[in-house]
Symmetry: C2
Subunit: 143 residues, 2 copies
């Protein structure tokens, strides 16, 4: 740890653009597998993806479990600690949407809901992530 | 630009831990000069600091002006675009404060105000940053 500042603490864990892009994929794009992360437009390389996923798992931001349908495949889920990064990701999006308004026609649905009412918008996405990633650790978990 | 996603757009500009630490120094620690940034506990190197400051200036997140008291010295200010990163920085701090609660006794004042009432806390810090960095582009600007 380079210092005792909480902002630095956070940045040492996820302050790397690739880590935050993987977290974004899990949060906003519904991606759950190595192959899906690899196909993201930003073109992450296999070695960076593998090392970032291992680090995020070590830091308990994501967990992985065997896909019940394809036993050789891992499904990644956000933990509560990971879901708690939602306001960081959303606020990066809100900032970018203000300063680069021509980007991202598809993300307007998400950003729009949060812009309309910040607290309620965040709560709605958080609830959805909880049900998709954390609740029901059974067969419905990945639906 | 690697993709048209706004989160990626933001990360391409400030998604580097050193850039966000400089922005944190300006926002929360009242640092305004190259020498002050250089003394931060995280130990940024001179070449990284100079290149990040130049990039943040190019992206209009910070501006610099000669110190009226010491003409050879530059004083850095956040622009409105820079101040708008406040929710990103604060939410990194809030997350870290939850998951590493033993850090940062001195930051409790800032984090405490935002935790008590998110919207009001952010608005109060933003107002202070505006008056210190943007309003009164005269002699009182750096007081």
């Amino acid at each position: 740890m380079r210092s005792d500042c909480p902002v630095n603490y956070g940045l040492e864990i996820f302050g790397d653009k690739w880590s935050l892009l993987i977290i974004r994929d899990l949060m906003l794009f519904g991606k759950r597998t190595y192959g899906e992360f690899l196909c993201s437009k930003e073109g992450i390389s296999t070695n960076i993806l593998a090392s970032r996923l291992a680090f995020l798992e070590k830091e308990k931001i994501v967990t992985k479990a065997r896909d019940p349908q394809h036993k050789q495949k891992w499904i990644y889920s956000l933990t509560e600690k990971g879901i708690d990064l939602l306001p960081v990701v959303i606020n990066i999006g809100l900032w970018a949407e203000k300063y680069a308004p021509k980007l991202n026609p598809n993300r307007d649905i998400i950003i729009g809901a949060v812009k309309k009412h910040y607290g309620r918008g965040i709560a709605a996405i958080r609830k959805k992530l909880y049900s998709q990633h954390i609740k029901k650790q059974g067969t419905n978990q990945f639906k």
